[in-house]
């Protein structure tokens, strides 16, 4: 019997504030996992630190709660050691794009088959509402004593420049649409990122539900012919200008949906299997390293370039 969303829910008390966008995201993830019928024991949710990273307690999986900003390297190591596992990362904009920004860009270059879900509320919630890397310049939320004097990063453009092969934006309170994006990101073979806009009712009194809902719209609603899929190198040239234009659209109108899905790039796992045929069959987590505790190898029989017959 196929799994239902309840099969992914743990017994843990979800300790987010009432009205938090995280609830919508969590429900969308439950729904996507159920539709994909993923075995929780074969699912690895990796979190950094922050409200959103606590998703590792609420989603049934073989999960890892890491340290601040470092979910991506740990997730990458897990996936490369055992590519059969489904690996997803949950984190906030501060965790993934602030302290973890270096890892965020590096993952795009590697195209490891991992899905990144950015719970993007533009503030640091757990530490009482400091400005996150996606908070626009000069915005003063109620938690800030002064307007923000640092500009905001555009997660989609950053992901595009880094080489992510699936880039989407969703909205936390649109659980149905978000479920579709989460599912597509998990299904996508390669590094996928979904930037999920979400109000933080406790600390961000500027980017509220009302503020978002006045601005958001879906790319495919506005343009039924919207096709972000790159099937050949030529497609990039044709589609990139429109994709970038939409990624750059901010302010009064904020587009949602899949901005890019590039099917032309091989994943890191495929690259490794190309360099070392058999890697996918016996990846690092599964390769025998001994024969009944013994080491059946000797350096003099392996490292012949270092030998000299005297």
């Amino acid at each position: 019997m196929a799994r239902r969303w309840l099969d992914y829910k743990t017994g843990a008390w979800v300790q987010w504030c009432p009205g938090c966008g995280d609830f919508g995201i969590l429900n969308a993830i439950y729904g996507a996992l159920a539709e994909l019928d993923i075995d929780p024991a074969r699912l690895v949710v990796v979190g950094g630190i922050g409200c959103s990273s606590r998703s590792v307690y609420y989603i049934k999986g073989s999960n890892v709660h890491t340290v601040h900003g470092r979910a991506i390297p740990v997730a990458s190591g897990i996936k490369l050691a055992n590519p059969e596992l489904t690996v997803i990362v949950t984190g906030g904009d501060g965790d993934l794009l602030g302290i973890g920004g270096n890892h965020f860009t590096a993952l795009g270059r590697r195209n490891i088959d991992i899905a990144i879900f950015i719970y993007d509320n533009a503030v640091y919630g757990l530490t009482k509402g400091q400005a996150g890397p996606t908070l626009p310049l000069w915005v003063k939320t109620k938690a800030l004593t002064h307007p923000n004097i640092q500009g905001n990063v555009n997660p989609l453009l950053l992901a595009f420049a880094a080489g992510y092969t699936f880039i989407a934006r969703g909205y936390a309170y649109h659980v149905n649409q978000l479920r579709g994006l989460v599912k597509a990101a998990i299904l996508h073979k390669g590094s996928a990122v979904v930037d999920i806009l979400q109000p933080c009712p406790t600390y961000n009194d500027f980017m509220t539900q009302e503020w978002y809902e006045k601005r958001i719209y879906y790319l495919s609603d506005e343009d039924p012919s919207w096709d972000p899929v790159i099937r050949s190198p030529e497609d990039v040239k044709v589609k990139a200008p429109r994709i970038l234009e939409k990624m750059l659209e901010t302010g009064d109108r904020i587009p949602l949906g899949v901005f890019l899905q590039d099917l032309t790039k091989e994943t890191m796992e495929e690259r490794l299997d190309k360099v070392m045929p058999g890697y996918l069959k016996t990846p690092p987590a599964k390769r025998p390293i001994d024969v009944k505790g013994r080491i059946p190898l000797h350096p003099f029989r392996i490292f012949k370039d270092k030998l000299l017959e005297t």
């Binding site: 740990v74 050691a81 890697y279 016996t282 987590a285």
Partner: protein, 644 residues
Amino acid sequence: MTGLTVDLNIIIGGPQGGGVESAGQIALKVFTLKGYNIIGTREYHSNIMGAHSYFHIRVSDNTPRALRLPVESLVAVDAESLLTHVNDVAKGGIVVYDVGSVDQNALTLAPMEHSLKKRIEKMFSERGARPTVSEAIKLLEERGVRTLGLPLKELLRKTSEETGALLASIARAVNIMGLSAALHVLGVEFPYIVKAVEAQFGKRPKILAPNIAAARIAVEYAREKYGSGNTLPDGPHKGRVRMIATGNEIVAMAKIVGGLTFESFYPITPSSDEAHYIEENKYLDVGGDFKEAGLDKLSIVTLQTEDEIAAIGMALGAALAGARASTTTSGPGFSLMNEFISMAVEAEIPIVISLWMRAGPSTGIATRTGQQDLLHAIFSGHGDTPKIVIASGDHVEAFYDTIKAMNWAEKFQTPVIHLLDKYLASTSVSLDEWDLDPSLVEIDRGKRVYGPVKDYKRYEITEDGISPMAPLGFNTMIINSLEHDEYGFVSEDPIDREAMVLKRVRKFETISKSIPETEKAVLHGDPEARVTIVSFGSTKQAILSAVEELGREGVKVNFLQIRVLSPFPKDLVSKVLGRAEKVVSVEANATGQLAFLVRAHTGHSVNHVIQKLNARPLYDVDVVYGVKRIIESGVERVVVSSGS
């Protein structure tokens, strides 16, 4: 050279990137082919091309333990090498130089360090001379050093004419020429040089022919000018297959045979060559038993990451999934790894960190050696983070320690920091098949469970503090960097917290009990000696050599080598130090880190310390000098300064 015992010491100098490295490797091969044991280290600047670098080699029919100064032979085909090492040559030694360099003056050598120029200028001005190569030759000859000037420009032209190789393309052959001439004077027969050059350049036939021609032309010139002396007899180690490898390579080999399946790293001197050697050998044909187990290829994922944080983070992720994983780094990178080391302790993740120490603080001198990260390694990571720290004394120890470290990491689900240094990293030694014998060690992965477990508790409270570890992907669970309950679920509950802290404490006690004291520390030499040297890491062989030398002079000294620095062998160290009248620590750091550790664990004060602070390797002469000074004057601290 005395009697039948061969003990030859050679320095080959030249500008970085100019062929010195190849010449050094060829010299190592020549003497290994001749049947001798060798040790050779590379000293170089943090520079790609042009700065002075040199190869320092010791050749012996015994096991040459450490490098020795002064040397019997200096190959200095450029002015900077000759002027830099003018005081490193023993009476009766031989210096080979380029006659075309005689007018060069230290003060006009662009790459030479300013302070060195000033020292050389002062030394020569005291003799009323200018700091030139010709004055240096004069000085050497006065000191009873033989000199052999090669007209390198002419000899190169001859090589070019004979082989048809372009002059510009064989400019580097000057090193081979200088070396070959020196080898002739030392009594090495030409066919050995040919064989070594072939072994070095065999894969590059275009380079091979001109280099062999260059060697022959240089030897012919030396024979004509200098005649032929006694032939160097063959050494006792001829007639078998031998290995020449650096410390970096030995550790890489040990990781590969010891079951490593994942290494992530960020480039940093002097650790990178270890990762590169793994990368070179990441996909190996295997036969024998592994083949029977259905495996024909041995693959290792090696990945260069965006920084050292990611390097250790990825290795931790791989370890959680079930891979045998490690990372490799040096001081600056290790600093970045601290938060993940702390996580590895809290979340109980196996990981080996090979820490190749170099001279700090900060960027310090990236390409020179030191032992300044001992306390950093032990105390790395915030919040009560005991871990295993093991230090290797030489190449053979490094081989077994690497495998041991990987076993311990998995058995005890803990970070293991393997302390090594730049000296070991870039020092080559000759080895025999029995020196590196993996059948002497077993693979032990500890309490691992594969497959679903009912009500699985990743952090189950146990008596020995070790819980069964299931790789990710078999059970729902939480691996946690936050304090947690037995299931890994986050918990701030005071009872849970205390129980988990005490579990980790018990685990460390288990580690301490499981590793015998005699494996943690080794007393070398006469247990009754009045003076005891304590040290750790790559100082081992220089100290052993010095202890012998002192013994010959009637000074009885023994040497307590601390192999495992954490958990510390406090009983054994207490016992040994309790018997000693004088305790001397030997370490390449300014703050007396080992002395501090000994005092902290045993209450024994280490009253004397010999410190090497110039970022050069420790020589046996340093230790001999230091111990004598301490015995004669009772001084607390002796700073020893040999090395160029």
